[in-house]
């Protein structure tokens, strides 16, 4: 009998994080998503340099141009503004808006989630009820209510979305913390003399990073959709600043005169949301296989 696989030399030390990163990057889908997202960030940073026109410049003589009419690659809108230039500038909003929301959600969700999961007892039940309450108000409705108070605008809208999605993160963090808390190494950390704070920071947090990463990715996509919806309703970014959602609003208002206006911003939103979603799934799969190794 012959052993098929040659005996490899002892493998060099691999940190779990590096192993994990390699697993994520091994998938072509994940790689493609990362490349696309990277591209959007590059566009956002260099939008003014790349854009062929001033995004707000109105070419009143060339309104409602369908795509591929030189020099307007993606055509022009109702005011004769270059769609490509607007889409490029709008990528800034698509990068910043989810960051605001997810930042808020992370700050609230992680701290409260860790507290609820690790301390448990009364703290847990009070925070849990609070999260339940906020969570039972649909995110967009909560955002509307906050906007009613603070007035329309991108930052207000995204703060509201962040607040509304915090309970989701809270639940994930709390659940993961509860699971990790049951692990023997947490008990062991108490035995070797770690204070509670040290245990949470050094032993709990790093061990919930995987589900946290997955949720962050998924929340980014949710926040982007929410931004688009609110801007579409005119409650997010205010004219004349472009966002992909706001561009769809123009398309909606002009759907008889320029039906093609709906294509570019919609596709961009979808690709970006898809990237975040697929990345989230990809990370989740990589964790799955991480668990399954022997």
């Amino acid at each position: 009998m012959v052993v098929d696989a040659p005996v490899p030399a002892a493998s060099p030390t691999r940190s779990p994080m590096r192993v994990f990163a390699r697993r994520v990057l091994r998938s072509k889908v994940n790689l493609a998503c990362l490349v696309f997202l990277g591209l959007v960030v590059v566009c956002a940073v260099f939008a003014p340099v790349i854009a062929p026109f001033d995004p707000n410049l109105q070419h009143l003589d060339s309104r409602y141009l369908p795509p591929f009419r030189w020099p307007y690659v993606f055509g022009t809108d109702d005011l004769g503004r270059d769609v490509l230039s607007r889409a490029l500038l709008a990528s800034r909003v698509s990068v910043i808006a989810p960051l605001i929301s997810v930042g808020v959600a992370l700050a609230l969700g992680v701290s409260f989630g860790l507290a609820a999961g690790f301390v448990g007892g009364r703290v847990d039940s009070v925070l849990g009820r609070l999260a339940d309450a906020v969570n039972s108000i649909p995110a967009l409705v909560l955002a509307l209510a906050v906007i009613a108070v603070l007035g329309p605008g991108l930052v207000n809208a995204m703060l509201a979305v962040g607040l509304a999605s915090a309970p989701r993160l809270f639940r994930v963090v709390r659940g993961a913390t509860l699971a990790v808390r049951e692990e023997t190494y947490i008990e062991a950390s108490t035995v070797v003399g770690c204070s509670r704070l040290r245990t949470v920071a050094v032993h709990v947090l790093p061990n919930i990073r995987s589900p946290l990463l997955v949720q962050t990715s998924l929340l980014m996509s949710f926040a982007l959709l929410a931004e688009a919806s609110l801007s579409f309703l005119g409650l997010g970014i205010q004219p004349p600043d472009p966002s992909w959602g706001a561009m769809l609003r123009t398309a909606f208002e002009q759907q008889f005169l320029g039906p093609w206006l709906v294509v570019v911003p919609g596709l961009l939103i979808m690709c970006m949301v898809l990237s975040f979603n697929l990345l989230g799934d990809g990370i989740r799969d990589a964790i799955g296989r991480e668990r399954g190794t022997w």
Partner: protein
């Protein structure tokens, strides 16, 4: 003759898909179970014993595993030739299986009576009423008190030992000729283990059902089985009658396992141990798979030549070149054999 064997496994190889291609986790499994007999399949984790048992039931995950060669014969019929549809009527009636984890092996959404009655209905075409009656009857047979009432309850209301009894009831409900028990008592307490083993022994006597017991516990083997197959790293390394194997093991691995068990009275001494770990399926050493851990290994022989499983003493087979060549005479089985005898003497009086 082995042709009389109820279950005959010959040269069975099983491979699992992994990131680095197919890995052979069972490499030449070989065993017989006689009608009404009890065969033990022993090994540590990673030895391939459970995979062999699952292969016999046709329960390997289809998409991640394959069987490149081998025969699994039940009463002369090669199960590997059968389609799933052909195999299905045999499961539960000819051969049945119980598992290590009684806590997760029962469907949480149905009552235990329903799960047993369902088996009876599918295999015998019995009416709902008759099937239920039979379910209650077997629950009683396996020693569940107030069986008629408990049949109406859901699995989560049963303790681990009771769930394993339910699993056994389900397995024997259609009177199979062979029961494959995969570590049936590993998850249970010793006193519960003792009662489950007693139950299996009793069922074996009353129904003349053959049992293939997969276990890592040599004590359980000594208690329950007529014959033993010891597996190491995907291969059977020794096969013999139980008394013979425990009395004079003919493979260094077996003797190592026997010596590693803490024994009655040699408290003051260090335990002997087997250095190292079981090699991974993709990192099998050349030559004898056990040689890197073997105290009897000979350079230039064991690390080069691959031994076969051959008879060394009557029906006693061993996969050790040095034993086969007669270079090792006696492998000690315990540090002091007299200890065991003394213990027996003692048990006879105190218990």
């Amino acid at each position: 003759m082995s042709s009389e064997a109820l279950l005959r496994i010959r040269d069975l190889r099983v491979e699992f898909a992994s990131d680095d291609g197919w890995q052979r986790v069972v490499d030449g499994a070989h065993l017989d179970v006689q009608p009404g007999g009890a065969r033990a399949l022993v090994g540590e984790s990673g030895s391939g014993k459970t995979v062999t048992a699952l292969a016999a039931m046709g329960l390997l995950p289809r998409r991640h595993s394959r069987i490149p060669t081998g025969r699994i014969e039940l009463a002369g019929q090669n199960l590997l030739d059968l389609s799933d549809r052909q195999l299905r009527p045999l499961r539960g009636t000819e051969l049945a299986m119980i598992f290590q984890e009684p806590m997760t092996s029962l469907n949480p959404a149905y009552t235990v009576g329903e799960q047993i009655a369902e088996t009876v209905r599918v295999h015998t075409g019995a009416s709902r009423k008759d099937a239920w009656r039979r379910a209650v009857e077997v629950l009683g047979e396996v020693g569940i008190p107030a069986a008629a009432r408990r049949a109406l309850e859901y699995p989560h209301t049963f303790s681990g030992g009771m769930r394993q009894r339910v699993m056994i009831a389900m397995a024997i409900s259609c009177r199979p000729k062979l029961l494959i028990a995969d570590e049936p008592t590993t998850a249970l307490d010793v006193t519960v283990q003792a009662s489950i083993l007693a139950l299996l022994r009793e069922l074996q006597e009353t129904t003349s059902m053959a049992v293939l017991l997969v276990t890592h516990d040599l004590g359980v083997v000594a208690d329950f089985c007529d014959d033993v197959t010891v597996m190491y790293a995907g291969q059977p390394v020794e096969e013999a009658d139980t008394v013979e194997l425990f009395g004079s093991p003919r493979h260094p691995y077996t003797s190592g396992l026997l010596q590693a068990m803490p024994q009655a009275a040699h408290t003051g001494l260090d335990l002997s141990s087997i250095p190292g770990v079981v090699p991974r399926a993709d990192r099998m050493p050349p030559g004898c798979r056990f040689h890197p851990r073997c105290s009897h290994a000979q350079e230039g022989l064991c690390d080069i030549a691959e031994p076969d499983l051959v008879p060394v003493d009557g029906a006693h087979t061993s996969r050790c070149l040095r034993i086969q060549r007669g270079e090792i005479d006696e492998l000690s089985r315990t540090v002091d054999d007299r200890v065991g005898a003394a213990r027996a003497d003692l048990d006879g009086r105190t218990l």
